[in-house]
Symmetry: C2
């Protein structure tokens, strides 16, 4: 097994950050070994030594996105849902998660290897909402509520080109609480 | 102005259908004049004569998607919302609207000319819901309700890779009606 030479760790981190930047800035087809090497300031040969093909590079780049930031659920149900939607929005604004999700949505049907990457992103993204709502609703109810909460944010970012406002998020949570007859102070 | 020679009309329709097929099957970067010409059974020269560049071709291809199918709103509020969401889902399944939307979501930020195409799709898609809910809710309420209804379907199709079930759509409409305190029989 390769020793964790700090220079190797650093090189990998630099390249994967550059690959992720290219992906969210320019899209899937811009992620080529020559272009990413140029952006990261390394040789093409270095990139090929670490990642034999584009898919390996993209997959590792998505992985560096890492666990999405989630707020710890510590308040009432209303507060926790609002905080979680704000985290989702913050990840879009600060880490351009909306761009990463758009690439995964667009490419996963054509590139089967990306399906599991997309699924892992979605599962990680939805986990706190599902954990909070799971004990309170039947399974289809959880699905609908999670889809309405996440989907509302996604629809704003991907279809209207801008993440939603605070008021939108508050009202969205309010509507779901009411729509599923949930106690906001639970 | 060019006369509407039926052969020209036919050629354009054939090519644009092929371009749209390539777009939803293979994605944005596959839509090139040579590839679309091959798929449509016309010469590259014919394509270049009608569409000087790729963007012109893609733009016209998106336009052939035409008006999205909408059901006439003739029932109760609950029925009309359910029927509208089913139309949205049917367009995804029958015309692969989900793929077209994914391409627009992914490409519009990088290709400014696609912004208006995406916006027109979204406006056309949301129109019946907005027309039905507009008189019943304040403006932010309409936005949130439309985003939750459309976004729920979109999240299922783009992020989970499959359009939602009938039960999902019924429950989604139910939750929004309740969440916004709307009379289902209105």
């Amino acid at each position: 097994m390769e020793a964790l030479d700090p220079r190797v760790v650093r090189t990998r981190a630099d390249v994967l950050q550059a690959a992720l930047d290219v992906l969210v800035d320019e899209g899937w087809d811009a992620v080529t070994h020559p272009h990413v090497a140029r952006m990261a300031g390394y040789s093409k040969a270095t990139l090929y030594a670490h990642w034999p093909d584009r898919l390996a590079l993209v997959r590792d780049a998505f992985a560096t996105f890492g666990q999405m930031p989630h707020a710890a659920p510590v308040g009432t149900l209303r507060e926790d849902l609002v905080v979680e939607l704000r985290s989702f929005r913050a990840a879009m604004i600060e880490h351009r998660l909306d761009r990463a999700l758009a690439v995964l949505a667009e490419r996963a049907p054509a590139v089967p290897e990306l399906g599991p990457v997309r699924d892992a992103y979605v599962a990680d993204g939805e986990r706190p909402l599902r954990a909070r709502l799971g004990p309170l609703l039947d399974p289809v109810g959880v699905d609908v509520a999670v889809h309405q909460l996440c989907g509302g944010v996604l629809h704003a970012a991907l279809m209207h080109g801008a993440p939603p406002s605070d008021e939108f998020l508050d009202r969205s949570v309010e509507a779901v609480l009411r729509g599923f007859d949930l106690d906001p102070t639970a």
